[in-house]
Symmetry: C3
Subunit: 392 residues, 3 copies
Amino acid sequence: SVTLFGVVDAGVSSYSNKSDLAVPSLTAPFLPGSVKVSRTALSNSGYNSSRIGFRGTEDLGGGLAASFWLEAPISNDDGQQGIATFARRSTVSLSGGFGEIRLGRDYTPTFWNDTVFDPFGTNGVGTNLISTANTSFGTWLGGGTTSVPGFTNVTGSNYVRASNSVGYFLPPNLGGFYGQLMYAFNERDKYDPGAATPTALNTQRTGRYVGGRFGYANGPLDVAASYGNSTIGDNFFVGTTTSVKTFNLGASYDFGVVKLFGEYSKAKNEVDVENAFLVAAPDVDLKGWLLGATVPVGPGLIRVAYSAVKYDFNLPTTPFFTTDDPKANKFAIGYVHNLSKRTALYATVARVRNKNGAGLNLGGPAFVTTLSGAAYAPKTSTGYDFGIRHAF
Amino acid sequence: SVTLFGVVDAGVSSYSNKSDLAVPSLTAPFLPGSVKVSRTALSNSGYNSSRIGFRGTEDLGGGLAASFWLEAPISNDDGQQGIATFARRSTVSLSGGFGEIRLGRDYTPTFWNDTVFDPFGTNGVGTNLISTANTSFGTWLGGGTTSVPGFTNVTGSNYVRASNSVGYFLPPNLGGFYGQLMYAFNERDKYDPGAATPTALNTQRTGRYVGGRFGYANGPLDVAASYGNSTIGDNFFVGTTTSVKTFNLGASYDFGVVKLFGEYSKAKNEVDVENAFLVAAPDVDLKGWLLGATVPVGPGLIRVAYSAVKYDFNLPTTPFFTTDDPKANKFAIGYVHNLSKRTALYATVARVRNKNGAGLNLGGPAFVTTLSGAAYAPKTSTGYDFGIRHAF
Amino acid sequence: SVTLFGVVDAGVSSYSNKSDLAVPSLTAPFLPGSVKVSRTALSNSGYNSSRIGFRGTEDLGGGLAASFWLEAPISNDDGQQGIATFARRSTVSLSGGFGEIRLGRDYTPTFWNDTVFDPFGTNGVGTNLISTANTSFGTWLGGGTTSVPGFTNVTGSNYVRASNSVGYFLPPNLGGFYGQLMYAFNERDKYDPGAATPTALNTQRTGRYVGGRFGYANGPLDVAASYGNSTIGDNFFVGTTTSVKTFNLGASYDFGVVKLFGEYSKAKNEVDVENAFLVAAPDVDLKGWLLGATVPVGPGLIRVAYSAVKYDFNLPTTPFFTTDDPKANKFAIGYVHNLSKRTALYATVARVRNKNGAGLNLGGPAFVTTLSGAAYAPKTSTGYDFGIRHAF
């Protein structure tokens, strides 16, 4: 009654991240105009995320079923991460005509559009920029991430997944309509009277996630919208709550010879203030869009995607200086050659271009931002994956 | 030849722990009379401990068999703990007409009565107080616990389980009699001559466990007694050894319409001194008892338990002040609704009452013990579990 | 399509490591002439390494196959290490008439001769001294090892295994000839221009491994040679690279009543200098040899091995003082009693003798090297394993 399943995906990847001297000047006449830092590595998960999982379903009669799903991320390139966590998914469910109630750690509703409408499925160097930018977006206004040392995928950012969640899914067979809701407990301590709250703790709501997704899939069309609110910081005594609010809308249409993908995403990192006399920091906005296509070629698949993001810090305009908002775009192209349903060879190349201080890369070492005291600004990030994906 | 098995148990739990101002006085006129700290969480293991295990048996012929059992605790509510350890059980055995020899990490003989004669099986908010009090009892006289960071269940306290153990089990079919012995190696270094022992190490016997259990189960009756000695600290040069000595006796009788449970437990945390001129700290005694019942109701089971513990610090009596010994009691009631043999819904509510400085809770955040410099004494701890248990 | 396999091996082991007072003198008249430190423990992997693994192969047609192998070391004696890593092996392969391409973490070619031509298979107290000495050989000239805290087998030393590797294996059926090549990526960052390399990082090549093995196995004979180069340290600005270069040659011949084993090994830990004016530290050489035999006795097997190693620091000879090079030898004898193909009882005893400052042991606590300010020199290390190995 248990299905053991998994993916072992390994490849050779290379990353090259270039920065330009920010303000070429007389004070730094001998500094190089640009600095490139690169790395070649055996990587995992270039096409599909490497994993091992256990899952099963029990028919309880009367249309009712109980099921579980425990799925671990693994780092098969270096063998350092086995089934240490079930950070990819760890749920128990009760389902029936009413839909499905699911308890545990699972994908957030707001992440789905970022990955299912990406021809590269947010894996490898081809991962779309909306996903790359949103992954680190929670840190802009002081939100923190907690993680288990040495293991990936377990964080408090709740962008991709949320722990301690209760989810509800609509039943299938609603004429193509589908939908889900999720609430993730923050599991913080509440003091009564509130004045007994320790000053150091002061994170009573951090970690909470609320969101939902609703879509329609029929024949060649799939379209879905989602909205979520993730509490990433709060201060009980000051009376502030910091949250990331995300909306996105994605669609794909399969014409047979080509399948088109598109997504629009809008996220806001904002501080809510209870105290009327306190002026909050301005919101940070993040907008992104994606256009992509896949073209089947015999046993293979060509994949192409263009994605772009733009930050807006909502700073007051000043008469003399205007700082243009940071933005970045990315182009990725790749080919997957299926040796069987379970085994495929793949190759992807991609390039990110940063402007006005944006610093997104597609993997590998961090951009050089200072050298001999001079500032360098991130510019391009280029890279490739070349590997094999084997599923079992 | 391998059986893969497991339990995924998740639910919503809430805990509320209240402390009262210890000495209401003129110096703290504006302090609240009581402070409550509460938490609501998605929890695991409210009915049965979440786990994944691998086990198997090989028939060697001639009545002989070899078997193994590797069982990992998992935290399916947050997915942070996968099969990182086999801390629940990790053994290899050789068995035959003589009984069974078992090597590895296993339950201690003295823990069994605390759990099998508890209607709530030491899981969730209903866990009996004997178990709650004994879990932390080793720390009273300076015994330490070691653990792997980030993972539960691997500790040096040896209350529930012991690592590095050799166990012996009587064969089945002794007319209802059963029994087991366990010796756990401390794996400490011994120096010859002894004077070469490093001062800093000085824990030559810490971690050793010796114990046994003997019982009789026939028809509706099950009764068993156990005794164990766990070395929790020692100092080679001073010549002291600190140990927890535990005795308990438990029984259950199944009348059909109701099954009754009872247990009596006595533990002593004492310092043995080799030096005749040294006066040891007085022993700390811990006594506890339990009365419980389960009542089958169609596909369900009602569970009730009352348990109580009392500490005795064996302090000399003083003419003017008497400090009453700390004590606590607990009442728990719950219902389990079996959807199948493998899947059940459950609900439990429980309440702990502390007196004279006892500070036991049923889960959740720690009691508030100081506020604005004033002392608060733990009083009540209330909570509930509401969840689903799915086994595979 | 997945095979779940494993070994659970546990036993009682004892180790006793004795050091002698290095320079008995009038200044330390009351110090003991020798100090012995010993330990008895429940151990794992005394005969075969305890493990759990998942592996599978998919026939892709046309002689092509894809396969994966994920194997975790486990510590079943204390249950603290479950499937936390796949540090024993973690690979995905594509194989066909051309041979096999294997990606991930795997054994290095240079380790194979050290283990397959050892009657004790580098497990337990019988492990040959070539392996014991090479395990720590990378640390002699400043090479470091990195590891995941709390888990064994994941290190940067690349003696036994290498992460992030690409391997090639000759196809079978080459008339008994077999061979393999391996390249392991160091995954370090490269800066362009090179002058931008951070001083603190300065380990651009550390972790790289290149090696190969070639052999012939036919009927009773098996003989193989291997060579490898492991980069264990480097300094970009000084222009030095430290590497361990290993060559070994091993053979076994099965006469039926007895199977003989032999190996010769030579390793060099050397610093390559790019700067012509810089004088590098002298190389450290490590030579070792092994003679062994196994004798089948009914369902059992007697195992005997003698191994010896010698270090050479290539120090300049001085007229008055000569420091003899450290050396050590070891004798091990044991018996394995097979209860079935999967289950065996085993016993091994062994003794290491150190001379001229060598400090190799067969397990357990470290040698005492100082006592009350006086130096002690490691001498003998004796120990035994007595246990059970169960495979599934």
